[in-house]
């Protein structure tokens, strides 16, 4: 028998998924509210009871492992030198590690910015700046300032290698919680994610989850191993690449619309064309972006903020709703579930907006440049036009009666023809909400995780006309 229990301690719900890795099957899933304010165990026990009720009996698990985005998730500040270079590289490392990047700073820090790091209760700081052998003055200045102002939250230094010794001295001098890593941008436009990302995950496990009251649960379960978004990224990578003789789905995009954020993942090369000149910082093969202002509840006002007054008027008139009012209602009652068709309609509309805008910010762009040598194509960001599948996950997509309409927004190039959005992808849905769980399972039993995903992530609901339209 090989039964595993996989848990996702989310910001709102604690989600359980029990699997049998020999039969490649899901035994059952359940969820209940996350109770991190009191004792995280309460919500977990309730969800566990529900799970056993569903299965009809108590079962034993070989291993119980969890990922977590409870208590605000992993909150990070990314600091670099130049916005387009080390700042962007630092940001991508944080996102790849499954963090929420709440603060982004460039060049020399000032006291106000350091105060923001304290006020926003940042969990980990990533300090970058300078290519190897390049600028070291800026990172040394910033490390000194953080030390002088008594910052004792974990700091990961991943900047200019030549500054490492000076930075270590500063860490020692001020008795800081400092960690030294490889440079996130060792030379211009080259991105080096892995070392810093692993260090962030390690600190998350050793220090952050304890501080967030999640450690209490460790007597009940074996361990918490990843931040939730990081687990989803692992799952997406496995599903795309395959494992040993089991093929993956090839290039994929995953869109996860939640209450507070919309996460977009793409697993593909930045371009396959030989006739384009790619510019800017190197793109990660497995890329995650997070839109903190696009979400169904906490971040619903952000969706309206991104609209012009004219668009709001148009929507109100066209759809017969008061969108501003509706959005505020969702913001002030984040546990609101659609009660009637109007509520469903508005949630559907908001979800479509999230998918459209999140893709707008994730995807690369191509530009025709006319030169005396003829036409040249200049690309910035990732080319997703040949992606095979766009996969939807997150409550609103899974529950929607018009899933196709939401996912279709990721391919909509109506206003931005230069965007390299997926051209003609197949749409799939994570019906059972298992992607985070499978990311966890992929760390122990990748084959089982892959086969279960291939079985359970399937075609969208809805009539075929709508799909083929």
């Amino acid at each position: 028998m090989a039964n595993y229990l996989l848990i996702d301690f989310g910001s709102t719900f604690t989600k359980l998924c029990a699997v049998n890795t020999e039969e490649y099957s899901i035994i059952g899933t359940s969820s209940d509210f996350t109770t991190v304010e009191t004792d995280i165990n309460e919500g977990y026990q309730k969800a566990l009871e529900k799970l056993f009720d569903k299965i009809g009996k108590q079962i034993n698990f070989e291993q119980v492992i969890a990922c977590s985005s409870a208590a605000g998730g992993l909150k990070m500040a990314a600091i670099g030198l130049v916005k387009e270079l080390t700042v962007e590289a630092a940001k991508r490392v944080c996102l790849g590690a499954g963090a929420k990047v709440d603060l982004v700073f460039s060049h020399h820090l000032n006291k106000n910015e350091v105060q923001q790091i304290i006020d926003k209760k940042i969990d980990i700081i990533l300090l970058a700046g300078g290519s190897d052998g390049g600028n070291s003055e800026s990172v040394i200045y910033n490390a000194n300032l953080l030390g002088e102002l008594g910052i004792n939250i974990p700091i990961v230094f991943a900047g200019n290698k030549s500054a490492q010794d000076d930075i270590q001295d500063i860490f020692n001098k001020y008795n800081m919680n400092g960690h030294i890593c490889e440079n996130v941008m060792p030379s211009i436009n080259v991105l080096n994610i892995n070392d810093a990302r692993e260090k962030i995950r390690e600190i998350f496990l050793k220090q952050i989850i304890a501080a967030k009251g999640i450690k209490k649960i460790e007597q009940q379960i074996n361990k918490v191993i990843l931040p939730t978004p990081s687990a989803v990224l692992e799952a997406a990578k496995l599903l795309s690449e395959g494992y040993l003789e089991e093929d993956g789905l090839g290039e994929i995009v995953v869109v996860d619309i939640g209450g507070a954020t919309t996460d977009m993942y793409s697993i593909c090369e930045s371009t396959k064309r030989s006739d384009v000149i790619v510019q800017g910082l190197e793109e990660p093969f497995a890329k995650r972006t997070v839109e903190g202002d696009l979400g169904m509840r906490y971040s619903a006002p952000g969706i309206v903020k991104s609209l012009s007054e004219r668009e709001i008027k148009f929507i109100n008139k066209d759809k017969g709703i008061d969108i501003v009012n509706e959005v505020n209602r969702r913001y002030s009652n984040v546990k609101l579930l659609p009660e009637n068709s109007q509520d469903e309609f508005i949630d559907q509309f908001l979800a479509e907006m999230c998918a459209y805008r999140a893709m707008h910010r994730h995807v690369g762009r191509i530009q025709e440049v006319l030169t005396p040598m003829g036409k040249v194509y200049n690309q910035v960001g990732k080319d997703l036009s040949d992606v095979n599948y766009v996969i939807g996950t997150g409550g609103v997509i899974i529950k929607s009666n018009h899933q196709y309409e939401i996912l279709r927004q990721t391919t909509n190039i109506l206003h931005n023809p230069q965007e390299l959005r997926p051209n003609d992808p197949n749409f799939l849905i994570d019906h059972d909400y298992i992607m985070a769980a499978m990311g966890l399972l992929s760390k122990i039993e990748p084959m089982a995780a892959l086969k279960i995903m291939k079985k359970h992530i399937c075609q969208i609901r809805g009539n075929q006309d709508e799909i083929t339209k």
């Binding site: 130049v82 080390t86 005396p372």
Partner: protein, 134 residues
């Protein structure tokens, strides 16, 4: 080791000379940061900040170098690169103009060394050695 940022500015895709410059300067013991073709002023400046460069060497082969280079020194000053050396060379203006005049215009724009068409990188190397030290 002294660091030099090189690249081809503007909507210009002449890649061969750029590679020759990279090869020669690297062989002469400089740390060369090559940002390649189709580069903007900002690309040069950003690379120079991150790499703590001593010099930016701009190539332009398609005749529009003068337009592409305008305001570059000001941007360097704004970015804290007051002392960085700016070199430019190639076919930097349209047509066959008197090079002394061209040179003066580029000096006014804040460039330190300006090279006419047909100059090989070996000739510029002497100036680089003088300006940066061996």
């Amino acid at each position: 080791m002294k660091t030099i940022v090189i690249g081809v500015i503007g909507a210009d895709v002449h890649a061969v000379g750029n590679k020759i410059i990279e090869y020669t300067l690297t062989k002469s013991g400089y740390n060369v940061v090559n940002i390649g073709v189709l580069s903007s002023q900002e690309d040069f400046i950003n690379a120079a900040i991150e790499t703590n460069a001593d010099m930016i060497m701009v190539s332009s082969l398609y005749g529009h170098g003068e337009i592409d280079c305008r305001g570059m020194r000001d941007k360097c000053i704004e970015s804290g690169l007051d002392k960085i050396l700016l070199y430019v060379g190639g076919n930097i203006v349209v047509g066959k103009q008197d090079f002394t005049e061209v040179k003066n215009r580029f000096i006014e724009m804040g460039f330190n060394r300006i090279y006419p068409p047909g100059i090989s990188i070996d000739e510029a190397l002497k100036d680089i050695k003088t300006d940066l030290g061996e």
